[in-house]
Point group: T
Chain length 159, copies 12
Amino acid sequence: MSVPIKSTLDAEAQRITGDALRASVVDLIDLSLIAKQAHWNVVGPNFRPLHLALDELVTAARGFTDDVAERATSIGVSPDGRAQTVAKEAAGLGFPDGWQQDTDVITAIVDNLATVIGRFRERIDTTEKSDPVTQDLFIEIAARLEQLHWMWQAQLATA
Amino acid sequence: MSVPIKSTLDAEAQRITGDALRASVVDLIDLSLIAKQAHWNVVGPNFRPLHLALDELVTAARGFTDDVAERATSIGVSPDGRAQTVAKEAAGLGFPDGWQQDTDVITAIVDNLATVIGRFRERIDTTEKSDPVTQDLFIEIAARLEQLHWMWQAQLATA
Amino acid sequence: MSVPIKSTLDAEAQRITGDALRASVVDLIDLSLIAKQAHWNVVGPNFRPLHLALDELVTAARGFTDDVAERATSIGVSPDGRAQTVAKEAAGLGFPDGWQQDTDVITAIVDNLATVIGRFRERIDTTEKSDPVTQDLFIEIAARLEQLHWMWQAQLATA
Amino acid sequence: MSVPIKSTLDAEAQRITGDALRASVVDLIDLSLIAKQAHWNVVGPNFRPLHLALDELVTAARGFTDDVAERATSIGVSPDGRAQTVAKEAAGLGFPDGWQQDTDVITAIVDNLATVIGRFRERIDTTEKSDPVTQDLFIEIAARLEQLHWMWQAQLATA
Amino acid sequence: MSVPIKSTLDAEAQRITGDALRASVVDLIDLSLIAKQAHWNVVGPNFRPLHLALDELVTAARGFTDDVAERATSIGVSPDGRAQTVAKEAAGLGFPDGWQQDTDVITAIVDNLATVIGRFRERIDTTEKSDPVTQDLFIEIAARLEQLHWMWQAQLATA
Amino acid sequence: MSVPIKSTLDAEAQRITGDALRASVVDLIDLSLIAKQAHWNVVGPNFRPLHLALDELVTAARGFTDDVAERATSIGVSPDGRAQTVAKEAAGLGFPDGWQQDTDVITAIVDNLATVIGRFRERIDTTEKSDPVTQDLFIEIAARLEQLHWMWQAQLATA
Amino acid sequence: MSVPIKSTLDAEAQRITGDALRASVVDLIDLSLIAKQAHWNVVGPNFRPLHLALDELVTAARGFTDDVAERATSIGVSPDGRAQTVAKEAAGLGFPDGWQQDTDVITAIVDNLATVIGRFRERIDTTEKSDPVTQDLFIEIAARLEQLHWMWQAQLATA
Amino acid sequence: MSVPIKSTLDAEAQRITGDALRASVVDLIDLSLIAKQAHWNVVGPNFRPLHLALDELVTAARGFTDDVAERATSIGVSPDGRAQTVAKEAAGLGFPDGWQQDTDVITAIVDNLATVIGRFRERIDTTEKSDPVTQDLFIEIAARLEQLHWMWQAQLATA
Amino acid sequence: MSVPIKSTLDAEAQRITGDALRASVVDLIDLSLIAKQAHWNVVGPNFRPLHLALDELVTAARGFTDDVAERATSIGVSPDGRAQTVAKEAAGLGFPDGWQQDTDVITAIVDNLATVIGRFRERIDTTEKSDPVTQDLFIEIAARLEQLHWMWQAQLATA
Amino acid sequence: MSVPIKSTLDAEAQRITGDALRASVVDLIDLSLIAKQAHWNVVGPNFRPLHLALDELVTAARGFTDDVAERATSIGVSPDGRAQTVAKEAAGLGFPDGWQQDTDVITAIVDNLATVIGRFRERIDTTEKSDPVTQDLFIEIAARLEQLHWMWQAQLATA
Amino acid sequence: MSVPIKSTLDAEAQRITGDALRASVVDLIDLSLIAKQAHWNVVGPNFRPLHLALDELVTAARGFTDDVAERATSIGVSPDGRAQTVAKEAAGLGFPDGWQQDTDVITAIVDNLATVIGRFRERIDTTEKSDPVTQDLFIEIAARLEQLHWMWQAQLATA
Amino acid sequence: MSVPIKSTLDAEAQRITGDALRASVVDLIDLSLIAKQAHWNVVGPNFRPLHLALDELVTAARGFTDDVAERATSIGVSPDGRAQTVAKEAAGLGFPDGWQQDTDVITAIVDNLATVIGRFRERIDTTEKSDPVTQDLFIEIAARLEQLHWMWQAQLATA
């Protein structure tokens, strides 16, 4: 395969930034699939608000997936978001099989979000030098995921 | 794990219908990931119309995924749409790694659609007795996928 | 009274289909009145999500009422949805008087839905031969009511 | 049953206002069912404009039903809008069974409106002292029903 | 001419289904042209409601034309909706030349609808085995045309 | 009063065009007041379609009033649309006092429209030389008024 | 002329309320014509904000005209909003001919508003007994006109 | 048949203008049917942009059909847009049967557009004297068709 | 400071009404700030429905603040909604610092609403004579706040 | 360069019309750039209404630029709207560098509009014979520019 | 009180960032209350554009308040936006009591904006190390406030 | 000329940032004019997708022009976007005269985008110290232009 899209970054910056972006694609697809899985399998008294909140998370994760994948293409790096790649490389903590109690769903989502946020915090550092444009996107993603992280935590918390 | 959602189908009908629905969830998620992969990696003179047409396919596949997953829950069957399950069980033909020429993308999408449609044609037969409500959903999905199948073929065809 | 609207069905098919449709009008109006009654009288910690979910049920029941009543007129059968007729003939389980605890509301709605769905499952069989057009409408109604049935059950369930 | 919603009215004002509101719920549901019944069963040269005008009446009656029922809850009174209650207690004049000629429909709607408006005129007086907030709602309802009363009369009138 | 679009149906099912679909294209275009013709040429006291109702019929007929034509392409059959083909092959009863009295328009539309509905009722039988996906589309079309048939009849009827 | 807005027309063209525009303002305001008067006072079996059609005429007349008044200002001529001016100078045929039978309303509107259209036909000739921009606006107004003229006539006509 | 619309008010209440409503129709049409006249003829540095604010006044006056005229019809009284009637009977202060300086326009609008508001204040008293429904409408109109009165005054005021 | 709609044109002007309008109805319906035919039967690499562009042409042709037909009625001339009339009298060049290669579709559309535009150019001349209102409509139609003519040519052109 | 906005009320009526309006501005701003504070600081299993319901309360309070402040200006009284004024003069019960358990939030909102509603009930009496226009606004505000009062209570209640 | 787009005009008409259109493209782009320049650089008490009014002018100028450029292509003439061409050939009076007082901005816009309108008035004459379709577009542009010319003058005027 | 929301920042970064965010909540609420106060109390010839511009400022300030408060919660810090806190801690310059001349309003808003912008400029520096996500939000706020600062200055400026 | 807008930046930072912003205004206007030029003059098989894609580029360039120009004003620097300035100072590569083949258009757009992106990459560095608010805007612009750069390249590329 040739290299059909030229980058406006130098080779080293492209490699560092591209690796961060490709890993982000995988993490975000995994997060969207986990959230959909929970959206369908949650049971318990809080079913309805969680069912709705999980679709907001799906929407956020899908939108960011497109953003990072198209940022990769914009710097000449081919993104890989196929099921096999996601199954192998995603950093998330996964989600159990079958129906899930509402409180367990909250815990699972909080933990998955914490893991993914941690990865984006690292990528903000990694790309500071290599590409401020990509870093800006990672900052935007972290901001939204941390907001969701608070909202999901708030459902577990006691004042 | 207990069985928290009671079905209005008898056990046998539930089993047959549930298997068909769970397999459909997996196929449709896979199809949506393949279409997104192509959306990002297509290159060539027809980039723009294909880029847009692939997102229409993503939208269709995602909408039907939700429909079949929530039909499964409606008959008391837990759907499984996690990345690992999709990677293992999807019936599609997959999609190659990296940038892809526009004509190759068309062929790959036509072939994947043909495979998935074949599976839905079988499920229409399987569920005729077990659950006409689910059959009706499969008929609707087949109708739309066959329409897309024509549109994608039309780009390859010569009169 | 003369017979002002001619049917495209023969007399026997018209009788069978018309009976099913007239009974459906009654059941669905009753369901919409029960759901509104619950919408106003529910109390308890889950007030807000139930208050909203009950209005979704009202919207569904009202829309289907119009569909089945206008399907009856389409085959030359006059529908009857007056309060006295509904009070006498509805198949639902009713709803108690006065303020109701949120958990009791969920149980009452699940039970009413199960009863009404059972009736529509029978009508799907009854009309298969007499009028596939009406059967198709009953399938669509069953699909939506079973989806709501799952969502209401899910609030009671434990995984 | 306990009294779960505290009122900002004193007991006597609450009783007077609550009775007026509970009766209004019943009258308005009955009116909406009568209008729907006519919407389906009207025949004659003016079918189309009447079919549409009847749905405007349904929309008005349904909206006001919700307003008065939620005004009842706002002052701590449980509303009762179940089919059996409506069948027993509604003040309207009812509507005949089966297909109805367009001119007969107009007369029936004009008469039902006149009856219901008369009841609201009384309630405006009754609640002037007991609760000006509820009175204001009754004034708004009377204004709209009298407007519809004119429009339905205008179809019968000769200049 | 080669056969550029492959079908997911076998040759016999494709032939039976394709014939039904091609005939439907012709009938529906004819119906839409008749309704437009009436929309322009109707005169009489009921001009306005008929003028509007005829455009609803045009909209329905045009939408279904596209549905059946694209269903034909989806199974690899080329549809033919050219003026000459419609003029030769349409099953409708036609419409007279020049200005038309409103009552005559109603009769003409009722009769044309009855003829076309009869043809779709036959096609529902014909395609039950050959292609349930196409049958489902014919059922949807029959449902809407029968609803319009009632509404147009209701303008002629006496209770 | 000075002449605050300069015209791009010469004095003679401005005078001819300005006179035509000022007279149009008066005629169109009068037409809109007549249509509103009829909108409120019409009675009879066709009340509803006429009530709606009259508001379409009001909307058209009001829109064109603004167009011609602002065209006058655009060529430096002050328009005069005050009640006294309209009462004195309008060319329309007026409208009787009090409730009006629906058939009489149709006749009155047809006659008023014919009178006003006649005046605009003359103004199209008058302004051909003096200002093609104003002529274009008069042509657009005549087109719409003649369309309404047909629709109102059609309600009186017999084929 | 017969009396085609029956009132739910007694004769005396109808007479008092009807007179107030008929006079309101005239005042509000006059106000809307004055505001349009000013909208076209205002000149000066504040042209643009005044040009826009005058159209808000037109919109308010036109909406209220329809409300009071249809309230008149609702109690069986025929409204009269023809140009000649407005020219003769309107209570407003009028508006001078030709182009007007922006500051003069503000003064003229403030004065006209004050006059019309004064009349509505009287009508609120007059109708308190005769018809609380009409009184409620007059209160709503006064509220909006007094808000506009402040906004127009504010442009003249110095703190 | 009597002549139910009176014209504001004299008999000769009505005849000339009416003939031009009736011929336009036929040409535009034919153009819309040809464009739909191409919309369904086009194949080749440019399928998608052509499929969409053809529906824009359908939309334009249908809108103008209504405009010219209602202009005919506005001058008292009955339009004729029935399939048989279109098949006999349309001026277009037609379109071949069956699937069509994308490049052939472009040529066919360009040629049909050129023929129809030529006819409208003639009608602009013909109606200049007989009816400037109709001429203005023909100018608007020519402007849009010539814009589409450029866009379709541009796909064949080489710079 | 001079008195730039003239009132249509006499001095005494202006003073009484103005005092009621100025106090309302302060109470409603305070209520909106309390609801926002709760919106951010609520934690617990019912976080999500409360978080949303609190923003509905904010929207209501902000809208009414503008209404009462502009009603004050409409009668020539300057409103004061600055932070210092609100902190000193608001009648509400306040809200504690820091994170708050969901059940505590409900109690705090119910109590604050009850206090504010009590004040508006008094103002309805106070302004009955001084200004029915302002009274009408207070009635509207009380109606909405009492509806919210019921909804917030319903979350604490047991049937 | 070849001549890829064929014209429906003859060579002479195409030359005359094409020259007028190409010059219009240049004038209108210049006008839109001047209006944007003023939008950013205006200062003074009338900043806000001018800032907004200038963007309306930009919107009008941009829309007409597209109309005239695509009218040129429709008759086979290539438009030229590049910065260098605009800088060289625009007929406008330009706009000074740096911040501008609001009154100076009004004068500059009025003068630029007058110049451009003068050019369009000439083009209306020039194209009357060569192409009535293009003339119609120039008339529409003149109508809108003269309306804006009035509005901008009105801000300078004294009555 | 416990610490219910865990932060993804370390304790020191959380403290620095949290202090900046809590102070921002207070400043922005104060700014929104000042702008509303001015919105109601401004008088003078520029009343209308200022009245509208002040509501844009309110909208901006309210939106940013929510953003910074929810950013605080996202890092585990409880925001405090109660009236008493705002009255004590806001950095703004305040706003005088009573009606205000339009020119004085402009000066007051410009000065308040300058003060608040200065504080956000400092916070951009402070949070550069402690939390780039929060810094990005402060940059966005500064950008919008500086744009408003220009627009408000522009109304005072002379070129 | 005085300096009417005060900056919140010191003189040196204002100079550096202002120069970058003024150059950006010029580059982006030039880019929007080039894209419009191509939008009109492109010919060839890919006309339609390019015609649409070029308008997306115009929209992006125009939006960013306003952003950078108003960022300049926000820091007290007057932007200059007049045609003469753009013609002299734009950094883009220009675009040839007359009709252009579709493949040549793609190359020209890719090259122009690459040049402009290079300039924004430099400005991101330049403004890092002088003004992080402006730098953030440049990052956002670079992100979008690089995305478009990929999409345009993708049409030329081979995998």
